[in-house]
């Protein structure tokens, strides 16, 4: 189960397009922080949508808006997917 994430479609959350539906591929960073993100709904397998990219990145995840700092968004690897139903 070693990490084997590589895909030409993958990008980090920071560079994903606003309005795009995304699938979480991998969380990088401190285990404690990844654990907290999963508890907040951002788990590998989850589909979500990036809705804003201002001073923070806002995503619709499991029916809630989660805001991420740009630094954090660099550690979140995502891939585009089909439209997410609300």
């Amino acid at each position: 189960m070693k990490s084997t994430i590589a895909s030409e479609n993958c990008t980090t959350l920071r560079y994903a397009k606003v309005g795009q539906s995304l699938r979480l591929i991998q969380l990088n960073g401190e285990p404690a922080f990844c654990h907290r993100l999963r508890e907040m709904g951002l788990c590998e397998t989850v589909r979500f949508r990036k809705v804003s990219g201002g001073v923070c990145l806002i995503c619709w995840v499991c029916g809630v808006r989660l805001a991420f700092s740009h630094q954090l968004a660099d550690g979140i690897v995502v891939a585009p997917c089909e439209e997410v139903v609300v």
Partner: protein
């Protein structure tokens, strides 16, 4: 120590558990009739609160409102309280007989993640669904009976405002005692399953739940929080090390399995009347603007400017009324009561002392009203993100912003809300700088000094006053950030603050009843403080400034001869380099208990000293007449600015010292905070005054 004692047979203990900002405290207030603070941002409740309510047949039920959490592995001190209560680790709280899990129906999937963890505690669970009206607006419904069958626990849709569902909750709190089934009967990842089995075999029955949670704990330093014996912690560390060496992301498998199971449940119990595609709602549209890199800052500055302008413009009317009322009352006492010490005590001591502070009540309440608006609308969480980049440059966590913003109202709740900050060093740094934020107690001092500086008749007076007041707030913020930067690079040096993630609540129309309730509570607190601390100090100060009586004719010499005068004269050399005379020094000494006392002290000192015709004049006019022996005015613009700077940066609040001691668990940090803030306040005020004198501004 594991607290396994059952609650007494007469009283049933029920705990409210849920994600942050899902409506726990609103339900708590609805059930108990209490009025705990609610808000529209995560992290309002940072300590457990208890209240009582009755069952259908008069059974006494103790309700425990716990801080919101996303999971049972705590990351911050407030979440730790929740885990400790649920695991029965707290000696001050019985383990609950029943848990009410609160879930926001609009984000059921995410909320059920915590619910599924709570199920594994093997304590009866009642699932309470809130925000059902919002769900309906989204074109969705939850089939409560079906969800109940899927989960194996009662599901009650509830609305605290219309009070629907409360009767069922009261009934279930008394009679429902069935332990819930686990949503994940078997650990899906076999190496983790084997590790759990090994750990369970070596663990006494009472510690098994805690041991399972500890095994998933990603932070080794937090393993001691689960109340496990040292030998067991060692085994947990070994098991984690084995899993870490073989598998990179083993923790994610359990989380993913939970979400898959929850997804299955939701697909069977949640119905969409129309297959809506994701569309941007009003909150998203507002967020595009309010979190914009440029417009976000512009809006933030605009909100702050409006707040300060309102504090001056709107509050001016009630302040005038209070001032006139106090003058009338003093006149009445002077004219109807016989001359003597008792009359002087009433008019010069109590009325001057209390009146001087009460006049600023409208400004303080307007400030609390605005903070309530920010909290209720949901803007507070956005403001935290606007400030995040700035905070991270200083070395602080973005979440530090909310405690710092709360400290503009009062440093005590501000310091308490640092419990939501995960990192201990970030938390301590925030506690140490929070009192630099200009709290409401500083408003009377700023207002009085600004009134001395800027006459009301000058053009654009309100704008100039608001600008000057804003600059004092800016001084506090700038020094706080500088100190934070220094602290994080010296005594609190540690890892770089973890990046910020936060749930943004939807914008909501403010609930004015809730805001006015908070404003009312603050008014009561202020009046109680005025009626106890300030009144007590006023009476004492009147005594010290009146006795010993002397035959000296000059009122100023008589005051100098009094106990207070002697103390002030003894302190004068310390504060003279700042341009303060001995009467201001008395004020600074008395203000150590609470900042507002400075105003009441000046009111008393100048009343005792003043001539009969000056007794009922506003304090501003009396202060402007004070002169040094060489004829120079005491309250020059430079001295007024120096006083404001000194008060902006010094810690003069016994309550803040006490709360710092409690939150840091150390008198050392509390004394350090008191000392370093005094040194900074004195140093900066000295630089301001002496620089001003160099340019002949004094």
């Amino acid at each position: 120590m594991l607290n396994t004692t059952c609650s007494s047979s007469k009283q049933i203990a029920v705990a409210l558990v849920g994600n942050p900002n899902c409506g726990k405290t609103t339900l708590f207030n609805a059930l108990t009739g209490l009025r705990q603070k609610v808000g529209n941002y995560p992290g309002v409740t940072v300590e457990k609160k208890t209240g009582n309510f009755s069952g259908p047949h008069g059974e006494l039920i103790r309700l425990i409102d716990l801080p919101g959490t996303y999971g049972l592995n705590p990351t911050s001190p407030d979440e730790r309280i929740t885990t400790e209560v649920l695991l029965g680790l707290r000696t001050d709280t019985y383990p609950p007989d029943c848990i009410m899990c609160i879930a926001d129906a609009t984000s059921l999937r995410r909320h059920l993640f915590l619910v599924s963890q709570v199920f594994e505690l093997r304590i009866p669970v009642i699932l309470v669904l809130t925000m059902m009206d919002l769900l309906k607006r989204l074109g969705k419904t939850i089939h409560a009976a079906k969800l109940s069958k899927e989960l194996g626990c009662p599901v009650i849709p509830c609305n605290a405002f219309t009070r629907s569902g409360l009767v069922e909750l009261r009934q279930l709190a008394v009679k429902y005692r069935k332990k819930p089934p686990s949503l994940l009967p078997e650990e899906p990842f076999s190496p983790l399953r084997e590790a759990t089995t090994r750990l369970s075999t070596a663990t006494p029955e009472g510690h098994r739940t805690a041991a399972r949670l500890a095994l998933l704990e990603p932070c080794a330093s937090r393993l001691s929080l689960y109340g496990l014996p040292a030998s067991l912690i060692k085994e947990v560390v070994q098991e984690q090390a084995t899993l870490d060496s073989k598998y990179v992301r083993w923790r994610y498998i359990t989380a993913a399995a939970r979400y898959r199971r929850i997804q299955g449940i939701c697909s069977r119990a949640v119905y969409c009347s129309s297959q809506q595609q994701a569309v941007l709602d009003i909150t998203d549209q507002l967020d595009h603007f309010l979190t914009h890199p440029v417009w976000g800052w512009v809006t933030f500055a605009f909100v702050m400017t409006v707040m300060f302008l309102t504090i001056f413009i709107v509050a001016a009317y009630p302040m005038d009324w209070i001032q006139s009322g106090i003058s009338l009352a003093k006149n009445w006492v002077k004219s109807t009561c016989p001359r003597g010490d008792l009359t002087d005590l009433f008019s010069d001591g109590m009325m001057s002392g209390l009146g001087g502070v009460l006049v600023f009540l409208p400004q303080i309440l307007i400030l609390f009203f605005f903070i309530g608006l920010l909290e209720n609308t949901g803007y507070m969480a956005r403001a935290a993100f606007i400030m995040d980049r700035l905070m991270s440059r200083v070395g602080l966590h973005g979440k530090s912003f909310i405690p710092l913003l709360s400290s503009f109202a009062c440093a005590i709740p501000g310091i308490m809300s640092t419990r939501a900050i995960p990192d201990a060093r970030d938390r301590l740094a925030t506690i140490l700088i929070a009192p630099f934020m200009s709290c409401s107690a500083r408003i009377p001092i700023y207002t009085l000094m600004i009134a001395l500086l800027l006459p009301s008749k000058m053009p654009f007076a309100y704008l100039a006053k608001a600008g000057l007041m804003f600059s004092m707030y800016a001084v506090g913020v700038a020094v706080a950030f500088t100190c934070g930067w220094i602290l994080k690079r010296t005594i609190l040096r540690g890892n770089i603050s973890c990046p910020m993630v936060m749930e943004l609540p939807p914008y909501r129309f403010p609930l004015f009843s809730s805001i006015l309730q908070q404003v009312y509570q603050r008014a009561v607190i202020f009046l109680k403080r005025a009626g106890t601390v300030i009144l007590g100090i006023s009476i004492l100060l009147w005594f010290f400034s009146t006795y010993p009586k002397s035959s000296i004719q000059s009122q100023e010499d008589a005051l100098a001869h009094s106990f207070a005068g002697k103390i002030g004269l003894a302190l004068a050399p310390v504060f003279q380099p700042l341009g303060f005379n001995w009467k201001i020094s008395i004020g600074l000494l008395c203000a150590q208990a609470a900042r507002e006392v400075f105003i009441s002290t000046l009111g008393i000192v100048y009343s005792v000293e003043g001539r009969a015709e000056e007794m009922t004049k506003p304090l501003r006019e009396v202060l402007l007449r004070d002169h040094w022996p060489d004829g120079r005015p005491v309250f020059t613009p430079l001295v007024c600015v120096t006083i404001m700077v000194f008060f902006a940066l010094s810690l003069q609040c016994v309550g803040t010292v006490a709360i710092t001691r409690r939150e840091t668990g150390s008198w050392g940090w509390a004394i350090f905070q008191l000392a370093y803030m005094f040194i900074i306040a004195y140093g900066v005020a000295l630089v301001v005054y002496q620089t001003g004198c160099l340019f002949s501004l004094g």
